[in-house]
């Protein structure tokens, strides 16, 4: 079958993630949250809608799509993709809603416990799919594959630390010290899962998009070793949560590893960039550089965040979630959506008639404007959180919402092939986010 290595549910994952992104930004504006009240229950609900509903879901959807490319084999247990997505959506909404029970809405309390159960089911199904695809004798020697496996360990740590905190907050007999568990939970989510997965995938993606040699460097092997060490330290911290020991020495170790690992990763990407054969990088790669700048900023702020907490910790987390991970994801999502749309519509026509290139499905100037607004807002938001400037933070949220709406429109235009001239468009368009169960638009040939 054509496109057998493609997961048909990737765009559904992306669609669910984009809805969560817009909803979280809208709610953040509507509820009036600012730098001074980010620990309010409704703020925690919104943060989880953003981190889980947007970033985690888009990363998991991208992994389901990209793991077969890393392993050069079809996705194993691909039928689990839909139930995993449904469990993830349900778990995110119930967990976010459950936080409202902390504000006295007792009706939301059962959902607080239901959220981690559904999310755990979703993560388990995804782990089965990803690990069964990735783990072979040939692939395990690749640092990027090992990074993704370490990222799954980070996802497990994220879930365990989160479930322990929910258990504590709901008054269950399984209780942990929230002040110790929270920094560990954030490190698992931002570093242990999202950043490790982004780094693992980016090695291959960046080389492909830049037309640069893929050969693994010493930096890449070192980054993997440091990531494994950091994951080990954080998992040790998880065990220590059950006891009464302080996590401070462990967090200092994680900071040091993050600084060295980040420097080596950025040096490796710089090497790829210099070795590229594509003289003018595409939009997704140009904006990935901005995202990498935010990665450096968030890691540089990390020691201050661990040492002082408070405003600098919030700024570091915001720079990582909004500046680094979201900018990278949004930039790549535009390109990946165009590529998947191209495959659905034009791949059966290769060699049979002239077909447009993938880039012609996008509008680089419009997407570039949206990413400019996003990145500027991410910068303003980071600065506002560091200085406790309420109005600046609210302005940043407005900018992020405008940019996200523009990007959603651009993604819709890509799916509708709006940027192509009418003769190039097929008579029938593929579905927006659902798999194409019908025959392809141009011919009666096999489809993905």
């Amino acid at each position: 079958m054509l496109g057998k290595s493609l997961s048909p549910w990737t765009l559904s994952w992306f669609g669910a993630a984009m809805i969560a992104l817009l909803l979280s930004l809208l709610l953040a504006l509507a509820t009036g949250i600012g730098p001074e009240n980010l620990d309010r229950p409704e703020a925690l609900a919104i943060v989880h809608l953003f981190a889980l509903g947007w970033l985690t879901q888009v990363m998991l959807g991208a992994l389901v799509q990209f793991v077969p490319v890393l392993a050069a084999r079809p996705l194993a247990f691909s039928r689990l993709a839909l139930p995993a997505l449904l469990c993830s959506c349900f778990g995110t909404v119930t967990l976010a809603g459950g936080f409202l029970s902390l504000d006295g809405y007792e009706i939301a309390r059962p959902f607080f416990l239901l959220g981690p159960v559904a999310l755990g089911l979703s993560f388990a199904m995804l782990a089965v799919m990803i690990l069964s695809t990735l783990i072979t004798r040939q692939t395990l020697r690749l640092p990027e594959v090992r990074m993704v496996i370490v990222a799954l360990a980070g996802l497990a740590g994220l879930w365990l630390s989160g479930a322990a905190m929910v258990s504590t907050l709901t008054g269950s007999h399984l209780a942990v010290d929230i002040s110790q568990a929270l920094p560990l939970h954030m490190l698992f989510g931002i570093g242990g899962f999202l950043t490790f997965a982004a780094c693992g995938v980016s090695y291959k993606l960046f080389a492909m998009f830049l037309l640069a040699p893929e050969a693994a460097s010493w930096q890449r092997r070192a980054v993997f070793s440091l990531a494994a060490l950091m994951a080990g330290l954080m998992l040790t911290g998880l065990v220590m949560l059950a006891g009464a020991g302080s996590l401070a020495p462990l967090l200092i170790g994680v900071c040091a590893i993050s600084l060295v690992g980040c420097a080596l990763y950025l040096d490796d990407v710089r090497r790829l960039w210099r070795a590229r054969r594509r003289p003018v990088p595409e939009l997704n790669m140009s904006w990935s550089r901005v995202a990498l700048g935010f990665l450096a900023l968030s890691v540089l702020l990390l020691p201050f965040a661990v040492w002082q907490g408070g405003a600098l910790a919030r700024a570091s987390v915001f720079a990582a979630l909004v500046g680094w991970l979201s900018t990278l994801t949004l930039a790549q999502m535009i390109r990946i959506t165009a590529f998947l749309t191209w495959i659905q519509v034009f791949a059966p026509l290769i060699g049979r008639r002239k077909v447009p290139v993938v880039q012609s499905l996008t509008h680089p100037r419009r997407a570039g404007l949206a990413l400019t607004i996003w990145s500027l807002s991410a910068g303003i938001g980071t600065l506002s959180l560091a200085t406790g400037f309420h109005t600046g933070f609210r302005l940043a949220l407005c900018g992020l919402l405008i940019a996200a709406t523009q990007i959603l429109c651009e993604l819709g235009a890509i799916r509708c092939l709006s940027h192509l001239s009418p003769p190039e468009r097929p008579a029938r368009l593929p579905p927006l986010i659902l798999p194409n169960f019908m025959k392809p638009p141009h011919s009666g040939e096999t489809q993905i």
Partner: protein, 91 residues
């Protein structure tokens, strides 16, 4: 006839770069055996989702050459593709 074979392969483009497969250095061997065309090709990465579609596209382009009755297109990743295989043209 060999010219027609090369012209047909020049007509199949990599959708990521817009360059044809010969310019991309993805065609390792192309030969004619009577009315049969044989091509050995690669992709830029082994797990490329377009692999089978490109192979079938090349097959279709070969079968469209007048006088060709059969086409055999095989894939190989030995040696693996590297950017050094690309023709030195700007795009």
């Amino acid at each position: 006839m060999t010219d027609a074979l090369h012209q047909a392969l020049r007509g199949v483009c990599d959708p990521e770069t817009g360059r044809d497969l010969i310019a991309m250095g993805m065609i390792y061997e192309a030969r004619l055996d009577g009315t049969s065309a044989h091509v050995t090709m690669t992709t830029t990465t082994r797990g490329c989702p377009l692999t089978e579609m490109l192979r079938l596209g090349v097959e279709a382009a070969l079968l469209a050459i007048p006088g060709i009755s059969a086409a055999e297109v095989s894939l190989t990743w030995d040696p693996p593709w590297t950017p050094d295989r690309m023709e030195p043209l700007s795009f």
